[in-house]
């Protein structure tokens, strides 16, 4: 998979369980499991990161690329205060004394909308609500002013009203800090409201890439179309009554995904001759890219194999 991410931009990576989105996120931080073999290139401001030794990755992680994930509880040491942990995170990357680090910690907590940041410093993680824990986690992730934030299902464990607050906080941080956001989620609602571009993953691959507006206006890949149709938006007219437009079949896991054919073919309503014979490339489809024969190899579009080096 290939993509670019600009400063201040939010790129959403959307997909269901087992599509590979979390593994991809870990690879960006050099955190793939030992059994994984990672190939390809990851460049940050033009500097090659892939193949770096672990100590180089440690410098990059937190300082230049930070990660927040679903369960902020597991990011914190339960027996140490929020303040002590953010101060520690600041001092790992910066030569400041304890007092200076504390000032930065308070500043970060304020920036993420933590009410009463001074008091927040002395709170223990388990004493905080889910929403405040996620804010504290974000404050820690921002401790050393990273350029890129990878947010892996950051609001999945939160209530709807609180999740909306956190996503709006991301929007604000992009505007104020020029933070680049990689938003990894299964939630199409957050993609629609909080990203500029989106990548749809299925069975380990990108099946569609588009501007967010275009993705929702004209979804190209049959999987994207099915996904959008199967979600209940409150404002969507209930044309089907109680019925949802479901995608038949099951989500493949990476070990058993179909090979030598389009991996979505077994579930695809638009399946035709080439789909069972070979794997489609990413083809240009209007302003989007879609991994589907409907748009390539002489059908509606042109092959776009030279798109990226």
């Amino acid at each position: 998979m290939s993509f670019d991410l600009a400063a201040g931009e939010a790129l959403a990576v959307v997909g269901e369980s087992g599509c590979g989105k979390t593994l991809m996120a870990r690879a960006l931080l050099g955190l793939t499991p030992d059994a994984a073999r990672t190939t390809g290139s990851i460049r940050l401001r033009g500097k090659e990161l892939s193949g770096s030794p672990e100590e180089e990755w440690r410098r990059v992680r937190g300082r230049e690329i930070s990660l927040v994930f679903q369960e902020p509880g597991s990011a914190f040491d339960p027996v140490s205060t929020i303040g002590a942990q953010i101060v520690e995170a600041v001092r790992v990357h910066r030569k400041v004394d304890r007092g200076g680090a504390r000032r930065i910690a308070v500043e970060r907590l304020r920036e993420v909308g933590f009410p009463d940041p001074m008091r927040g410093l002395s709170e223990y993680p388990h004493r905080l609500s889910g929403g405040l824990r996620q804010r504290a986690f974000l404050a820690m992730a921002l401790a050393s002013d990273p350029a890129v934030l990878v947010a892996d299902e950051p609001t999945t464990a939160l209530d709807a009203t609180v999740s909306a607050q956190v996503l709006e906080l991301f929007d604000r941080l992009r505007a104020t800090r020029g933070l680049a956001l990689l938003l990894i989620t299964h939630d199409l609602g957050s993609v629609a409201a909080h990203s500029d571009r989106a990548i749809v993953m299925y069975a380990g691959r990108v099946v569609e890439e588009a501007s967010t507006a275009e993705l929702f206006r004209t979804p190209r890949h049959p999987y994207t179309r099915g996904l959008l149709a199967s979600v209940a938006g409150v404002s969507a007219p209930a044309a089907g009554g109680r019925r949802f437009a479901a995608i038949a079949g099951a989500v493949p896991d990476l070990a058993t995904r179909p090979r030598g054919l389009c991996s979505f073919a077994p579930r695809c309503p638009d399946r035709f001759e080439p789909c069972d014979d070979r794997e489609p490339a990413l083809y240009r489809a209007g302003e989007s890219q879609a991994r589907c024969f409907l748009y390539g190899d002489g059908r509606l579009g042109t092959r776009d194999s030279e798109r990226r080096p």
Binding site: E16, S17, P115, S129, G130, G131, L132, D159, A160, T161, V162, S163, A164, Q165, E168, H186, D187, L188, G189, S190, A192, A193, T212, A213, F216, R217, G226, L227, L228, S230, V231, A232, G233, V234, S235, A236, A238, G241, R242, R243, F244, A245, A246, I247, A248, A250, V251
Partner: protein, 332 residues
């Protein structure tokens, strides 16, 4: 068995469930009400959606109806009978009419038991079938939920999440219940699979006239599957009404805020989200007056002092708010 069609299938009246607050050594004598005076009816063939965020008391309400826990106060009538008065063999016998589908089939199914045996279990326990008849019933139940008869010989681990939830539904249907409590039945499923399971529940409702209490945090899903909706906040129902009316014209400011936080899949529509500060209250320090007032954009002094009762507003709609309908619904 009373089957008077004019009485609701299920009625809950003034349900209260108090728990002891967990604090310090030896526990505390203080209690809080996870469910605080909840009343509702579910008619035959009807789906009542129960929506709320974590800690709202929606799942506890479901557990009280199922008698997995006993309420501290209140009454429940099932088919006109005093449901809480039943015990022993009589309760076991009547439980067949009232079944449940939980959120996570991974924990509600036994990983060491073949799926067929799990679907058969309620039939065996209730002595409703045995031998050849039992095997046939299991096969037809599996078929009813869209699984092949071979699934009976499989272990849950050999199935996908969606298939496992279908097995759990087949098991719930085994005793031919009239009423099924669905507690977050799709929350552990992928989007594309969740849609299949919701369609299955809708099919079953039409085919065998099931009634559902559909418990979920997802207002968009609840609005789609329910005839009527009850919105819960901090142990109470704050709004109740027909699904269509509640979604198009919310009366309670919390409902309006929930609606504005629900996903809208059109990025060109920039909806004004109703900003709610803070988070749901903690049981350790319950707010005075209306439990929603600390987060409410239209709260007045009165809301801090008095608890608004759930009262009729119009056309069978109820709201627990002194200023119902005042907070404009989000524009779409």
């Amino acid at each position: 068995m009373s089957g008077n069609p004019s009485t609701p299938l299920l009625s809950a009246r003034g349900l209260v469930k108090r728990y002891r607050l967990r604090s310090g050594l030896g526990g505390s004598r203080e209690t809080f009400a996870a469910v605080d005076g909840v009343s509702f009816d579910v008619e035959r063939g009807e789906t009542l959606g129960l929506v709320g965020e974590s800690g709202s008391g929606k799942s506890t309400t479901g557990r009280l109806v199922l008698r997995l826990e006993e309420p501290t106060e209140g009454r429940i009538f099932f088919e006109g009978d005093d449901w809480l008065a039943l015990s022993g063999a009589e309760l076991r016998r009547r439980r067949r009419d009232l079944q449940v589908v939980f959120q996570d089939p991974n924990t509600s199914l036994n990983p060491r038991m073949r799926c067929g045996a799990q679907v058969a279990e309620p039939l065996r326990v209730q002595k409703l079938a045995s031998g050849r008849d039992l095997r046939d019933r299991v096969a037809s139940l599996l078929q009813e939920v869209g699984l092949s008869a071979e699934t009976a010989g499989r272990f849950p681990s050999e199935l996908s999440g969606g298939q496992r939830q279908r097995v759990a539904i087949a098991r719930a249907l085994a005793t031919r219940p009239r009423f099924v409590v669905c507690d977050e039945p799709i929350s552990s499923l992928d989007v594309s699979i969740a849609a299949q399971v919701l369609n299955l529940l809708a099919d079953l409702r039409e085919r065998i006239g099931l009634s559902y209490l559909f418990i979920s945090h997802d207002l968009a899903v609840v609005a789609r599957v329910s005839d009527r909706i009850a919105v819960m906040y901090f142990g109470r129902i704050v709004e109740q009404g027909s699904a269509a009316a509640l979604v198009s014209q919310p009366l309670h400011p919390y409902t309006a805020a929930l609606l504005s936080a629900a996903p809208d899949l059109d990025p060109s529509v920039h909806r004004a989200r109703i900003p709610l500060s803070g988070e749901p209250p903690s049981p350790a320090s319950p707010p005075t007056g209306c439990a929603f007032h600390p987060r409410c954009p239209i709260a007045r002094p009165r809301c801090r002092d008095e608890t608004p009762p759930l009262a009729p507003v119009s056309d069978g709609r109820l709201a627990a708010c002194f200023f119902p309908g005042e907070l404009a619904p989000p524009t779409r």
